[in-house]
Amino acid sequence: MKFLAYLVSGISLGSIYAIIALGYTMVYGIAKMLNFAHGDVIMVGGYISFLAATNLGLPALLSVLVAMAFCTVLGILIEGLAYRPLRSAPSLAVLITAIGVSYFLQNAALLIFGANPKAYTPVVSGTLKLFDGQLSISYVSIVTVVCCVVIMLALTAFTGKTRMGKAMRACSEDKGAAQLMGINVNRTISLTFAIGSALAAVAGALLCSFSPTLMPTTGSMPGIKAFTAAVFGGIGSIPGAFIGGILLGVIEALSRAYISTQLSNSIVFAVLIIILLVRPAGLMGKRTQEKV
């Protein structure tokens, strides 16, 4: 029964990773950049929903919506101001810029909200008791898992069925060719950042409900882990990010419980390394070989 409890907490933690990884994988797929600022957008999402709930007294759902709107705008701004001018620059330059943006967001948050952790009120409270109270599952966990599945399905439908989604896939394959086909590449990339950032806001609210401390550095580690999850599943692949996120969460929760608390991140990363050695493009990724 204990095992089941750990598994459940792993799956819900994994769902948060999966939501972040979905945004990450879309942004990476289209912009081909490690967006280190993504984790900090999560943190901003957390703060905004926190402020909306405590200072404005908005209900939980509404506060998350406010955070999503804010992060969407933030994502578009970051892309337009910092990344778009570097579209043709070497990838390292873009990476360093992303790091700069990440520092900027963290320190801006530090200035505005202070270094003290904020106690976040979970978006949903209460727990569901099963098996005569032997297994208790918090409603937050359930909401998280449901959110994650819904988002994954919606994104799959969006990229597969809609016009904009197809444009997105075309851009991630070949920007030049997409442009020649009359696709507005810049607008498509902006849209991708908007979606990714909105997802980050959702993840921020859920993450803070899960472990209710909110600091300027809250987002960076989950951001890195979510990217790991995206690589795990095969970067650019939506179901891959979902599976990768869940797996990562489960591995982390189980190794925390059964092996070592101190080494839980190491175990997660070690599994990543092993997976990449066996399948260099991740679980669901396609391997491309350079033509000679």
Binding site: Y28, L34, A82, P85, L86, S88, A89, P90, L92, A93, L95, I96, T97, I99, G100, V101, Y103, F104, Q106, N107, A108, L110, L111, I224, F227, T228, V231, I235, I259, S260, T261, Q262, L263, N265, S266, F269, A270, L272, I273, L276, L277, P280, A281, E290, V292
Partner: protein, 360 residues
Amino acid sequence: MNMKRYFKDARADLLTYAGVIIAFLVISALKSNGMLNRSQTGLLVPICCYIVMAVSLNLTVGILGDLSLGHAGFMSVGAFSGVITAMGLMNVIPSAPMRLALAMVVGALCAAIVGFLVGIPVLRLNGDYLAIVTLAFGEIIKELITCLIVGVDSKGLHVIFNVNGSKTANDLTLLDGGRIIIKGAQGATGTKTIATFTAGFILIMITLVIVQNLVRSRHGRAIMAVRDNRIAADSVGIPVTKYKMMAFVTSASLAGAAGALFGLNYSNLAAAKFDFNTSILVLVFVVLGGLGNIWGSIIATVILYILPEALRGFSTYRMLIYAIVLIVVMLTTNNPILKNYFASLRSKFGKSREKEASAS
């Protein structure tokens, strides 16, 4: 024969050495005349360490062309193995400079071994996958060291690997007169600080000799060939993996030596200091200094390390300013429109200077 270019390269190398030596002499003179305050002299050894870190990372990122996000991991291995060496041999080797030198050698060796082990899986990958795996290794190294408890007594070295956090330094069962060197998450405590600015200077010079001479040898050319076109390098008989490994391990061992110096500069040092952010910090030095540009790495390190200190007056705003500077510099140096604008400015300026020169 193309000796002209040969001499041009050699002159660039010599200028780098000369720059470092002059800087060392000037700073030493200022220091001995008491013209530097305590906080300024406190920066000297760390700057030396970070210069070595940046130059060695430049070997991996700029010259080999593989993005590494775990360089601090090797620094960490060097730091703690160096501290263990120096503290463990305190009674055996009384001379502090000797212990420092030995600690740096041990640090370099340990980091080289770890670099080799990490390199086996890492160098099979490419691009961002390689980057994320180096990041992963950096974090793994950090957490493993956090589990270490090390002490020394008359019977020798005692090591505990504290997997589930249940053990403390008392479990070392040290004899009387024994000394605890590393206390798990607290890191190295009570280290005798024997690092000196002169040692830092010597380490920089050694690093420069190794990296610059390597680049101008057949091995360095092979490494750059792998960077520029892996398949072509393979086709002219260059074993790609061997040269990737050579660059990677050399880079790791230099980082290890820098780590040992760094570790022996602080009486308390936690493994958490060598996290992902430190790796990123060094990467920023390398990229802003210019990929493959050794002198650039040195200058960028000095400026960017001092910048946050100089901005202390702005206290809370300093990291924000640092972030903005970073973004603005990247945009101005890499955006095609801005780049052309600056290039035209420079050529105008250059032309007017040429005119002056011919007029005089």
